[in-house]
């Protein structure tokens, strides 16, 4: 991969845990690569599988989905519902032959600024190594 490539990473995060965790990383001035674009949603329960597909259609090279740890959901169980959907959705993506190393799920609490920094850094570096998600981009460019 040429050095020039900078991955585009979409992060769907829940407003009450991961978003605040990311804020904390800021307050503590924890540096990490600037590739992630955070979309704030109320709860992981709101993060529909279509959004993950859409993110790739929008040209994302990797997607991060992150919310409250089990039992910490601001809405009591949104994250549990989400976790179930992901279990099944990942199987679908595997069956289809998606590059699973581009789809990341984490629990990051409001207190885990450090974890946010680590996760974002690692995902960015990993995706840099993987290069652009050409397999998906080809789909989107075909017939167009």
């Amino acid at each position: 991969m040429s050095e020039a490539f900078e991955p585009k990473i979409v992060a769907y995060v829940c407003n009450w845990c991961t978003y605040l965790g990311a804020d904390l990383a800021g307050t503590n001035r924890l540096e990490y690569p600037p590739n992630v674009r955070v979309l704030r949603l109320p709860c992981t329960g709101r993060i529909d599988f279509n959004l993950i597909v859409k993110a790739f259609e929008a040209g994302a090279d990797a997607v991060l989905v992150s919310g409250c740890h089990p039992a910490d959901c601001h809405y009591t169980s949104g994250n549990y519902h989400a976790r179930r959907r992901w279990i099944v959705f990942r199987r679908l993506l595997e069956t289809l032959g998606f590059e699973m190393e581009r789809i990341h799920f984490t629990w990051i609490s409001a207190a885990e600024g450090k974890k946010w920094q680590q996760v974002v850094t690692e995902i960015t570096e990993k995706t840099r190594r993987l290069g652009p998600y050409t397999a998906y981009r080809d789909l989107c460019e075909a017939h167009q």
Partner: protein, 278 residues
């Protein structure tokens, strides 16, 4: 069995227990049976039963035209009946508004029959015939396509589906024939905003088949009609089966088997696996 079936339906119509019988009919010998909607006792002769009755007739319950005919008697095989169970769970059929005629079935020469788990309808109002203990008259189970596929590396699976979906013309036959695709306005027809690119481009086709498969996750009863109906010969049903496997593996859930079982989605357990979550 056919005679018994016809008698039953005549009786139901005579006594006005139902206003329409949804069953199988046949134009020429050898042809696949087609659905018939019998509203008059004298027409019960049109009803048939046999190895060519592939279709899952529960699909017609969602049709407005059919609903308009009044209370229906529905001819089901054991496998079709699973769809009824799901539809009832999802508040789409009132079992009371329906008379179910269960046909004991030895398989209808469809590949799906090789894996048949319910030969005899379990919840029918009336059961006709007895299922032979002989395993389905289906074609001997060829090496399972899903297993073959899953054994391949991801890149090859991707390539496989890419070439399959490249043939998709977005005719939505897979949707129309599916007894569990009953939304009044399918998500692909939602245009503000557009969730799924409606063009028959690879992009749109992937989006559609992903969505279709996931919407049937832990609901699909594996009647296999979608694959049978696809004019482009895309084995779309594979995706459903793959998800059915996970539903079974992770949540011990088999759609349409146990009316009492809690659906996979809309429920959760604190012990759901999360080895993939960091």
């Amino acid at each position: 069995m056919i005679t018994r079936l016809r008698e039953t339906c005549r009786r139901l119509l005579d006594q006005n227990k139902v206003q329409v019988v949804i069953g199988y009919g046949q134009r020429r010998p050898g042809a696949a049976a087609h659905p018939v909607f019998i509203t008059r006792p004298e027409d019960v002769g049109q009803l048939t039963w046999g190895g060519n009755c592939f279709a899952n007739l529960t699909v017609y319950l969602k049709r407005k035209e059919v609903k308009a005919l009044g209370k229906a008697a529905l001819v089901v095989k054991g496998c079709d009946e699973r769809a009824l169970v799901v539809l009832e769970k999802e508040a789409q059929v009132e079992r009371g508004d329906l008379y179910v005629i269960g046909m004991a079935c030895d398989g209808v020469h469809a590949p799906k029959c090789s894996a048949c788990v319910v030969r005899t309808p379990r919840f029918a109002d009336e059961l006709i015939g007895e299922a032979g203990s002989a395993p389905g008259a289906a074609s001997p189970a060829a090496p399972d396509l899903l297993d073959v596929l899953m054994a391949k590396p991801a890149a090859e699976r991707w390539a496989f589906w890419k070439s399959e979906f490249s043939r998709c013309v977005k005719c939505y036959a897979c949707r129309q024939v599916c007894p569990l695709c009953y939304c009044e306005r399918c998500i692909v027809d939602k245009n503000r905003p557009v969730t799924i690119d409606t063009s028959a481009s690879l992009k749109g086709n992937f989006a559609w088949h992903i969505t279709r498969a996931f919407h049937l996750a832990a609901r699909c009863v594996g009647c296999g009609e979608c694959t049978r109906a696809c004019p482009a010969g895309i084995p779309v049903g594979l995706l459903n089966r793959s998800l059915a496997d996970t539903a079974k593996g992770n949540f011990g859930y088999a759609a349409g088997m146990d009316p009492a079982a809690e659906p996979v989605f809309g429920a959760w357990s604190s012990s759901d696996k999360e080895d993939f979550i960091r």
